[in-house]
């Protein structure tokens, strides 16, 4: 795989384009203007040449744009392109990045498709190779690649290229090499200061999870009981005006900042608890546990012990969410943290289990009170063997312990309930709760549902300006779906200027 080092300059006139003059060299990086030449035109020219002598040649398109989101990510493009360039080099061909993000290859195909050495992929073996590489991210029905044997399928391939030209004529050029925009961590230094000095509530968001308890007779009488209120550090707020959102997407750097935030949050909560402040009011009066996302380092810190002590004296209820990544990072410290949580009487919640981690871990061994599974459509559309693994993992944890988070669609709620999960957290439920708040609020005449959702999610006074009844924002409504059926039907529009009002 040498080709990647100079991805564009990999032209092998010997096979594909025997008479190609160098000045036509389509995407040679040394000639700036050529680099901007329409990729499809270059492909067409190469296709025409190949089709003039189609014997033993193939064309292949890798439809990266058909991968399931969040793919294609930069590393998907980088690796796929490197593999294709490698095959192109071995089989005298060339790779063409198309404007829709796909990659095309025209090269020779050897008559005998005998298996080469490890890692040497023949063009005919590329479709199967890419299916294995992309695994569950690939579209199911073999739509990931298209392969044409030019000798037999010249017309089909020509039609494809024509279609491309028409379809993508006005799309921006595809310069994707899969290289991430590099950021300098030196640019993160102001963030360190921000973590140390910013007002704590300004960096926090809150969200209430609900426990869905179906009514005895009709689904509409289901009870939506608040389960806990979770405080999270908002990455965007932390990044502030700096362009550091990318850096905070780095899990290691984010955890470093999160650990710094924890110390401040724990101190702030302790004071808030002592003085009945805004953050812990619900944990005291409504007995709705306040969930904190903590690093292991902060759980074993004296700040945590002080908060636990204050909580014991005041009766404040807390839960602690630990990401599965932290739990796996240091078993000994996890064990220590587990014991401290037991002593404090704070339930442990295992957090950030996604659809892949679900089948690779057994969090039940940590004896958590709850396990938070992050919703992804890929839970629902997993192929049969993966589906079986998902179901086995759900059974190991037990549905009564599972919370489906980022449940932002009806599909999520449906999938959860089909699998016995009745605890949910997500924007969809925020909307339902906001509808319930508005229905019982005397100052909601001019409020939209979205305003009410946004204000309740924030702890920053600036965001809450305009709410005539801020006390209500921090009270989690406990209600039956039927009571607010009318209001929640507005949840989907999310801009209802005058939500229906009802006495609660």
């Amino acid at each position: 795989m040498r080709a990647h080092m100079n991805a564009h300059a990999n032209l092998h006139p010997g096979v594909v384009a025997p008479a190609l003059p160098t000045h036509l060299s389509p995407i040679n990086p040394s000639t700036g203007s050529a680099a901007h030449m329409a990729a499809e035109r270059v492909l067409m020219e190469a296709a025409e040449r190949a089709l003039r002598a189609p014997r033993g040649k193939v064309a292949l398109v890798l439809h990266l744009c058909r991968l399931k989101p969040p793919a294609p990510r930069p590393h998907h493009i980088r690796i796929a392109r490197a593999l294709m360039e490698d095959t192109a080099q071995r089989y005298g061909g060339q790779v063409f990045p198309l404007r829709n993000g796909d990659l095309a290859l025209i090269c020779a195909a050897p008559g005998d498709e005998a298996h080469g050495l490890i890692g040497q992929v023949s063009p005919a073996a590329l479709p199967a190779t890419f299916m294995r590489l992309f695994g569950a991210s690939a579209p199911e029905d073999g739509r990931l690649t298209t392969l044409w044997r030019l000798e037999e399928q010249a017309e089909q391939f020509r039609a494809f290229v024509m279609h491309l030209r028409d379809q993508l004529a006005h799309a921006p050029p595809n310069d994707a090499t899969g290289d991430e925009g590099s950021f300098s961590i030196a640019g993160l230094l102001p963030l360190e200061a921000r973590v140390a000095t910013a007002s704590v509530p300004d960096l926090l968001a809150q969200q209430v999870a609900i426990h869905l308890q179906p009514g005895r007779h009709l689904p509409l009488t289901a009870r939506l009981a608040p389960l806990y209120r979770e405080l999270t550090v908002v990455r965007g707020a932390l990044a502030g005006q700096h362009e550091d959102a990318d850096a905070l997407a780095d899990p290691y750097l984010f955890r470093h900042f999160a650990a710094g935030m924890d110390t401040r949050l724990l101190g702030y909560l302790r004071q808030d608890l002592e003085h009945g402040g805004q953050l812990t009011r619900g944990a005291l009066r409504q007995k709705l546990p306040l969930h904190l996302n903590l690093t292991l380092q902060s759980i074993v810190s004296p700040e945590f012990a002080r908060l636990a002590d204050t909580a014991r004296r005041t009766g404040g209820k807390f839960g602690v969410e630990v990401s599965i990544m932290e739990a796996a990072a240091d078993s000994a410290m996890m064990d220590h943290a587990r014991r401290l949580l037991d002593t404090a009487g704070f339930p442990l919640v295992v957090d950030e289990l996604d659809h892949v981690a679900l089948t690779m871990t057994n969090p039940a061994g940590l004896r958590p009170a709850l396990v938070k599974l992050t919703w992804s459509p890929r839970l629902a559309d997993a192929p049969p063997p993966v589906k079986a693994a998902i179901e086995a993992a759900l059974a190991r944890i037990g549905p009564e312990r599972l919370v489906l988070q980022h449940a932002e669609s009806e599909a999520a709620l449906l999938w959860g309930q089909v699998h016995g999960i009745m605890r949910f957290q997500g924007y969809y439920l925020d909307a339902v709760q906001a509808a319930a708040r508005i229905a019982g609020c005397h100052s909601a005449r001019a409020c939209t549902l979205r305003q009410c959702i946004t204000r309740a999610a924030s702890l920053s006074p600036q965001v809450r300006v305009g709410c005539g009844n801020p006390g209500l924002l921090d009270m989690a409504p406990d209600f039956r779906a039927a009571e607010t059926a009318a209001s929640s039907s507005h949840a989907s529009s999310q801009t209802s200027p005058h939500a229906p009002r009802r006495a609660s």
């Binding site: 969040p70 690796i79 102001p190 360190e192 650990a259 810190s301 796996a328 690779m360």
Partner: protein, 368 residues
């Protein structure tokens, strides 16, 4: 300017707060958080201006002035008819008004006001937080790696010649009474690099910044291996590596330089936390590594980790199992924790323990 001679230490403030609480004496307190001044106002003369802004308060009735850590200042006085507070706050507003529009900074973050004795406890907490050193690092302990040092280290590592910090240790196959090397594990001696580049820091003190730093180690290691001499003639080996590195250009370059004889003879050693940081990326990196003939290994696996993380479901080839007293006491437990199809490598094996390892079915070991 605040007359420095009259400034009192934090303990005196705590004492005063206790007294007001006990006697119910009415006071007001202002705490100036100098250390929160926004970056654009963080120069020394700004700090002086901020202090000067509240200096007038020292003239209020019964005013007392306290100097706290991080340059913070507290003033306690008896509330009355005076306008000293209004003047001070106006002066602070004036100072903050110098900031450009897009950097507006609310005055509320710079000063906190307390009504005593009701809010004495709030202020007491602030003082306690400020004056207690974070107890996880004792006074003698070396300070942790922090972001500014990491920035310097990453820059230094981009240039540094680190081949002398690369270490080898063999993984051996136990065959009868004989231990024969099967591959060499290559790793960067992080502590030695740290001792050279930042001797005053505990390099693993912040576990996440250390993990981030290891990506620089990865890159340097790969560029050395990709060099003209290093791979030719060498035998099978294993590398400690981050997933992000496997998907980076440096690895593609290394992969291209790998001699055919070594294809299929290189093992990549991963950490569970790295896998679980982005499991979707892990599966992609694993599939890619498989296509190119690499074997995958889980490092630092304790019994607790193996009951949490399923190496079989992750489709790894090998797992490091530390030779601990717990293992020696209950060797059967590992049969349950390491599924069929995954080969355990017993690590930290003392010469005397080799017979024990062989007897209990461990075929691969890494000696002490």
């Amino acid at each position: 300017m605040l007359p420095a001679a009259r400034a009192e230490p934090p303990e005196a403030l705590v004492e005063l707060l206790r007294k007001t609480e006990l006697s119910g004496t009415q006071r007001r307190a202002l705490l100036l958080h100098i250390d929160r001044l926004p970056p654009a106002l963080a120069k020394q003369h700004h700090q002086r201006l901020a202090r000067a802004a509240i200096a007038g308060l020292a003239l209020a009735d019964r005013a007392q002035h306290f100097e706290l850590s991080r340059g913070r200042v507290a003033i306690v006085w008896r509330p009355g008819g005076g306008r000293e507070l209004e003047t001070a706050l106006a002066a602070l507003d004036h100072l903050l008004a110098d900031l450009p529009q897009d950097q507006a900074f609310p005055r509320g973050q710079l000063v906190t006001l307390y009504d005593l004795p009701e809010q004495a406890a709030w202020l007491m907490d602030e003082v306690a937080d400020l004056e207690t050193p974070p107890s996880h690092c004792s006074p003698k302990a070396t300070p942790s790696l922090d972001l500014p040092v990491l920035v310097r280290l990453e820059q230094a590592l981009a240039q540094a010649e680190i081949s002398r910090f690369i270490r080898w240790r063999p993984v051996l196959r136990l065959d009868g009474g004989v231990a024969a090397p099967v591959w060499q594990e290559r790793y960067v001696a992080a502590h030695e690099i740290a001792a050279n580049l930042c001797p005053d820091r505990s390099i693993k003190g912040d576990p996440w910044l250390f993990r981030r730093l290891t990506r620089s180690f990865d890159r340097r290691m790969l560029s050395i291996l990709t060099g003209p001499q290093d791979l030719r003639g060498g035998g099978p080996f294993a590398l400690n590596i981050n997933l992000a590195t496997i998907l980076a250009q440096e690895f593609l370059r290394f992969d291209a330089a790998l001699p055919t004889a070594l294809r299929g003879a290189v093992t990549l050693n991963l950490l569970a936390a790295d896998i679980l940081a982005d499991p979707d990326t892990f599966t992609f990196a694993r599939n890619f590594a498989r296509l190119r003939g690499y074997k995958l290994l889980l490092r630092q696996a304790s019994a607790a980790l193996l009951s949490l993380f399923d190496v079989g479901a992750a489709e790894l080839d090998y797992v490091h199992v530390a030779c601990t007293p717990e293992l020696v006491a209950n060797p059967a437990r590992w049969r349950v924790l390491v599924p069929a199809g995954v080969t355990p490598i017993l690590t930290g094996v003392a010469p005397a323990a080799m017979a024990w390892a062989h007897q209990h079915g461990f075929e691969l070991i890494r000696a002490q």
